[in-house]
Symmetry: C2
Subunit: 199 residues, 2 copies
């Protein structure tokens, strides 16, 4: 099948979206061309506007189109609690979960010496500068429960403890609604070791 160049280029460009394979890209291109050209033009403008206008918050380093993001600018948030995450997606996830009212700091990924990602690269100096400016009582390490995430959490915990800041790690275990038989062994072992008294 030889698509005409503009259609071929559109299908190829749509494949740049995560999770979009050749069949899906073809279906999307056809839908836009046949049914919804205004949707396509609107998407083109939204893409350009976001790529031009969205940068990073100078305080917490999450994605933001303003110098200070709306979470950092919100006077109702609790300055004494700082949650450290490893991507803006994690900030979105925690905000959507609700219940956390402190501040955030977003690392650029995890420590990974093999990939050349040391403390400097992932933003540790900026984290320390951010802690200097504020009266943080507790830092919650919410890096992912992976080998690199754990290593990053421990590295930061060791840096902060001498400064008299309480450091905690988010709990890991069986997800709510999860069935034990379908949970991986590592998670299950972690959940057992981390058991808490009830009653």
């Amino acid at each position: 099948m030889s698509f005409s160049p503009l259609i071929r280029q559109l299908i190829d460009a749509l494949r740049g979206l995560p999770g979009v394979g050749p069949k899906t890209a073809q279906r999307m291109a056809l839908h836009l061309l046949e049914r919804d050209r205004e949707v396509a033009r609107h998407l083109a403008r939204a893409l350009e506007a976001a790529m031009d206008g969205v940068g990073y918050c100078s305080r917490c380093r999450t994605l933001s189109e303003t110098e200070i993001c709306n979470l950092c600018a919100d006077p109702r948030r609790d300055d004494s609690l700082l949650c450290i995450l490893q991507s803006p997606a994690d900030v979105w996830a925690v905000e959507q979960a609700g219940g956390f009212h402190g501040r955030y700091f977003v690392l650029k990924g995890n420590l990974s010496p093999i990939d050349g990602l040391g403390p400097e690269e992932i933003g540790i100096p900026a984290l320390l500068a951010c802690l200097e400016d504020r009266d943080v009582a507790e830092v919650i390490l919410a890096t992912n429960p992976t080998v690199e995430g754990e290593a990053t959490a421990h590295y930061i915990a060791n840096l902060l403890k001498p400064r008299g800041i309480k450091v905690s790690r988010i709990a890991h275990g069986v997800p709510l609604g999860g069935e034990l038989e379908y949970i991986d062994g590592g998670t299950l072992a972690h959940a057992l070791a981390g058991r808490t008294p009830i009653g």
Copy 2:
């Protein structure tokens, strides 16, 4: 969760793509912003270029960025065979399947009086004009095997038979590799009624 306006607009615009729900749109927006801004700008340009440049072939009425599409312009195709379909997606599907070397004509959907789609609306006059110009020996009706698709096929068959054109319908039945127990009853009944001798 309150996204900043540009991110919110990007997520909303991505939801205009078929099959993209809120979570997927969020993941796509994040991926583009965090990892691949060049991919996003490239997609924006490809969308604009395709919406501006792609129209319809004046002969077969499939999507084309030239007055005559490359299938109609190809001198190696067989002018005596004309396959009638109901969307450019169907042309793509038949071309990708391979094995058909005739010409195409694309209707604008199916006859559906309830929706105000009569012969005029779906392009029957243009089909007749196209048949006048050419020496077509056989018309293959490849509208979908739905109530409207069947009605459209029969309508066209009745129009063309008096003109001495051979009219055929694509075969319907159990898909290759399909397992009988998972095939819907209508298809199965059709496949049994349309049985062909072997050996």
